[in-house]
Each structure stands twice: as C-alpha cells, then as structure tokens.
C-alpha cells in the first residue's frame, strides 16, 4: 500500500526548496531569453509557485496519476520532479532536454513524473485530461488526472465540453484553475460575467473551492482533498487558486495594463515568504536556502549549455510511431 502524502514540516521544507528552485530558475530563464539563449516565447510563473508545489505534492504519479498543465508550466514540471537540467536544456533546444529539443518552453513532457504535457492551445488539454481519467475509470486503476489551467481557459469551448463530460461520467479528474487575474493582458473581470471561476462549477453540478494560491499548505490541502474524492469515485471537482504572476504574460511584456500598486500588494503575499514564515525560518536560514537553490540552478545551467543541439538527422524522427 502507498501512504497518502501528509502535510508536515518535512513536506513544507521540500515545497520551499522547490519554490526557490522554480523562482530562481524562472529568473534565470528571463535572463537567458534576453541573452538570446532561449528563443521563441516563454511564460514565467514567478509569484504562482505555491500552486505548483502544493498541487504536485498532492498527486501520486507512482500510482498512475497524471498531470496536464498549461504553457506556463515550468513550475509544475519542476514541482513534479523534472530535473533543472532537463528543463533548462529543453528551453535552450538542446538534445538533453526533456523532449530532445523538439518541444521547448510550451511543450514540456515528463512521463516518468506523471507529466503528460504542458499545452499551448488554451483549454485544449482539459478534454485530454478527461480522457486520461476515463482510462483510469475503465481500468479501475484508482489513478487520478489533474488538469491545471489558467483563468483564460474557462471561456474556451473545449473547457466546457470537457468539464461537462467529466461531470456526467463522474471521471476522476481534478480541475485546478490558476486564476492570476489576467488572461494574457486582459483582466478576468472583463471576460467573465461571474466574479469567480468557481461559480461555474454549479452549472455542472460539481463541488468547487476557492483557495489562497499563495499558500502552499492550502494548495496541498485542497488538491489532496479533491484527489481523494476523485480516487474514491466521487468524480471531478474544481479548485480555483487565487494567485498572481509577479511578471508579465510572456517574454518582454512589462505588464503596464495592471493598476498601480497591484503588484506591490501581491508581492506582500510572496508564497516563499509565507511558507518560510510558517516554518519559522530565520532570515539567515532562508538566505542559505536561497543560495543553495541558486547554486542548483547555476550548476544545472552549466550542464545544459554544454549539451549539443539535436542532430539534424533527428528532424523527422518521432512524427509517427
């Protein structure tokens, strides 16, 4: 028998270390982008780390649980256990990356850690998460599928189709919305007639909960509860994590569309500080943890930049099985 994950200081320390890894890795990725080492686009989750680590701690890929996430997915990938090496190499399009350089920032996959993918078409992965859950239901495997999406996804048809299907078939899915208040550059309030994503659950007859997305403990508790319910045959539930990205939508977006003072207000609720304070860590202890995380990121980066580009012969490999 597997032991269900429990919330204790050991798990909190692990989540804190993961959040620091994510934070510094994301900051480093921004610089790599500016230096031209990361091409295309990249979407950082700085400020939203607690959602990733709390949710990842509540699923059990070793029991077959699967996770499908948005293109703002570096944090979730790391929280699930993808190595910094694999992530950074992929972001630079190197052979040693999680997808051999074929996917990039928006298309991360790590089957060994339960990550079926990060998806770059908004809302498209919710039906696929329902399908993974259908598979678990038919096989009676007890596995649960976690779909992580932004507030922008809930106005997409695929989202509604999938939530309806999951509800009507009672599929073991956990629907986790990271509501960071903006769909790209547009405030959620301008695109939704109801104030909360959670309000929409009523239409599908599934339970919903609004959670403080800056608090890793709360995230873990809520997702673990929804995972348990799904595993026991209770069907899907919707969790809305209220959170905030401390950076723009992508690349060089300065996020000037946000009202003055909003970022500063949310920075007061930095998920790393909240968890460090719950662990009663001193400033110097936290600083030590930070230094260790920076060193982990730098060391992984040193490895990743030395990885070769994928050979041109691999260009057409992996199109068909």
């Amino acid at each position: 028998m597997h032991g269900s994950p429990r919330l204790n200081d050991g798990l909190r320390r692990k989540m804190l270390r993961q959040m620091l890894d994510i934070r510094f890795c994301e900051e480093r990725i921004q610089r790599l982008f500016e230096e031209g080492l990361v091409r295309g686009s990249t979407h950082l989750c700085i400020g939203q780390e607690a959602v990733s680590v709390g949710a990842a701690a509540a699923v059990e890929p070793e029991r077959g649980d699967t996770v499908l996430c948005t293109y703002r997915g570096h944090g979730m990938a790391l929280a699930l256990g993808m190595s910094l090496h694999s992530l950074l190499a992929e972001l630079m399009g190197r052979q040693g990356g999680c997808c051999g350089g074929k996917g990039g920032s928006m298309h991360l996959t790590d089957v060994d850690h339960g990550l079926l993918g990060t998806f770059a078409i908004v809302g498209a992965h919710i039906p696929i998460a329902a399908g993974a859950a259908l598979s678990a239901q038919i096989r009676k495997s007890g596995a649960v599928s976690l779909a992580v999406f932004g507030d922008g996804a809930v106005n997409n048809g695929a989202w509604h189709e999938a939530v309806n299907l999951a509800a009507v078939w009672k599929l073991p899915v956990v629907l986790l919305c990271e509501n960071n208040l903006y769909g790209e550059y547009t405030p959620f309030a301008q695109t939704s007639p109801v104030p909360h994503v959670a309000d929409r659950a009523a239409a599908y007859g599934i339970p919903a909960e609004i959670v403080d997305g800056q608090d890793a403990d709360e995230m873990f508790r809520a997702v673990r509860g929804a995972v348990r319910r799904a595993r026991q045959g209770g069907g899907p539930s919707l969790i809305e994590a209220k959170t905030y990205r401390f950076v723009g939508h992508s690349r060089t977006d300065p996020a000037t569309y946000r009202p003055q003072g909003e970022l500063e207000k949310w920075r007061q609720r930095d998920p790393i500080r909240i968890l460090a304070s719950r662990l009663q860590m001193s400033e110097s202890e936290l600083k030590e943890e930070e230094e260790r995380a920076r060193a982990r990121v730098e060391s992984a980066l040193q490895w990743a930049v030395q990885q070769p580009e994928p050979p041109v012969e691999s260009l057409r490999e992996g199109i068909l099985a």
Binding site: C98, P127, I128, G131, N164, G318
Partner: protein, 323 residues
Amino acid sequence: MSEMTCRDAVIRALTEEMERDESVILLGEDVAAAGGVFKATAGLLERFGPDRVRDTPISEAAIIGAGIGAALTGMRPVVELMFADFAAVALDQIVNEAAKLRYMSGGRLKVPMVIRAAQGAGGGFAAQHSQCVETLFMHYAGLKVAAPGTPADVLGLLKTAIRDDNPVIFLEHKMLYNLKGDVPDGEHLVPFGKARIAREGRDVTIVASQKMLGPASEAAERLDAEGISCEIIDPRTFAPLDFETIGRSLEKTGRLVTVEEAVRPCGWGAEIVSHLCEEGFWWLDAPVRRVTMGESIIPFSQSLEDALMPGVDDVIAAVHALA
C-alpha cells in the same frame, strides 16, 4: 469468402478487435444504445458493455480529446465523429494535439487512436454533412488517413488502423454502407500505404476512391467497348499514399486521370499529379486530367447535387481528351 456490406464490415472489424484487445473502446454520439446513426456500431453495446461502448454528449472536442487522453494512458480508443464535416468542430484536438503530441514530446508519447467518420455526398445531406475530408488531413504530419471503398478493405484497414500506434482518420463513405462485396473469412488485415489495383488495363490509369470507383468502373467498361483499356487504382489510404503503385501503372499506360469527390483546389489528385510530374514526367504521353467538383459547395437539390458529382460521362470525357 462471404458476402457482406461495408456496414457489416465495420461491425465485424470492431467486434474482432474488441474481442482480441480489451483496451479497445468506442466513444461517440449515439454509438452505443442507438448503434450509431448509420448503424455501424449496432450490437456492440450489448456485446461489450457500457464501460467500453459509450454514448457521449454532442461535444466533438471533448470526444476527440477524451480519446487522446485515453490513448496516452494505454487504451486504444475508436472515437466516432458521425459526419466527417464535424471534424471542423474538433480540428484543434485532431491537428494540434493528436497529430503533434508524439513529435513535441520528443517521441515520448504515442496516440494509438482511430477517428471514424462518415463522409461523402450523394444522399441529399447538403453542404454541412456531405464533404469528403481526406485531403484536409493529408496536410498534417503525424496523422494517417484511410478511405476504403470495398467491404473487404473496410474490414482489413479498420483492423489495421486499430492496431496502429498513431492517430488514424478512418473515413467511411456514407453512400457505401450498403455496398456488398466478398470478404475473406478469418483474420483479414490490409496494410496502409498499399494501393489496390481495382481493374487492370494498358492504355489509361484512372485513380479513384470510394464512391468514385463506381463511375470510374462504368466508364472503364464503356471505354473498353471502344478499345480503350483503363487501369483503375484505388489508393485506399491517403496518408501514407502509395505513389509507387500509381507510378508503375503510369509507366505502363502513359496516361493519367484522377477522379475526386471533392472540390478542385489542392485536392489529392493535385498531389498525385505533381508527384508524378516530378518523378515520372517522361512516362507521360499526354497531359494529365483531374475530374473534380470544381469550386463549389455541395447543394441540397438532387438535380444540382447530381450535376456537381463527377459521373461516368465526366470520366469518359477526361479519357477522350487524352487520346
């Protein structure tokens, strides 16, 4: 050999594969209790139960997406889109997700899924329920596309499609469900990428598929009486497409006509013609001819639909133009 319809061939293929492999499941609108709007899944709910044969809401994106998710996690779903035109509602799931997940993941994922749909005109279903869509899906790497025109090929290709580890678009022609033909007894598998020579001949190569095999065959009969011998090639699968068999026929005949039940721009006939102009130009003794619907939308009225559909006279005229 025994005689059966294309519809019964679909049912037999699904039954045999579901018996053989319990990871094969069916999802779609009215596929279970009603046995499908074309009755091509009749009896499967009773035989395999509601876990494996499921009616879905009218939610095409969710149906395809659920198939993808199930395929990624060890199942072999056969999902039905009812009318092939409805693929447009779920196009993202098909062309951006199913087709690309394997490549984007660096080969870590696979999507062993079959998307069945009924296509084709001739039944008065009008503009949104009559289109042939094989050409659309040929344009996306990562998909396989089959369009069988006989009961034996329906059986053999559908069984092969279900065993394939890739997403397969499996297009059944709605006007051929009642078509009867001989089907081998016992295990019958037809490989993808292998065209069928439907009729042997020496003077002209005619490439035709599904319902267009009818007018092509009748035209060949009449032309035979004139002393023109036509070879008819049925591609059976469009991705992969068997250029080799078509090329070998052209090498023999020196003349090429394609007959497509679709609009003209960018049709599969154009792909075959351009390929053979590059690879087999010196085999050509005459210009090539494409028989198509031209540029149009499929009308409702029978007189208009009949006028639009390529017919025997169109094929004969195309062949005469090469003489």
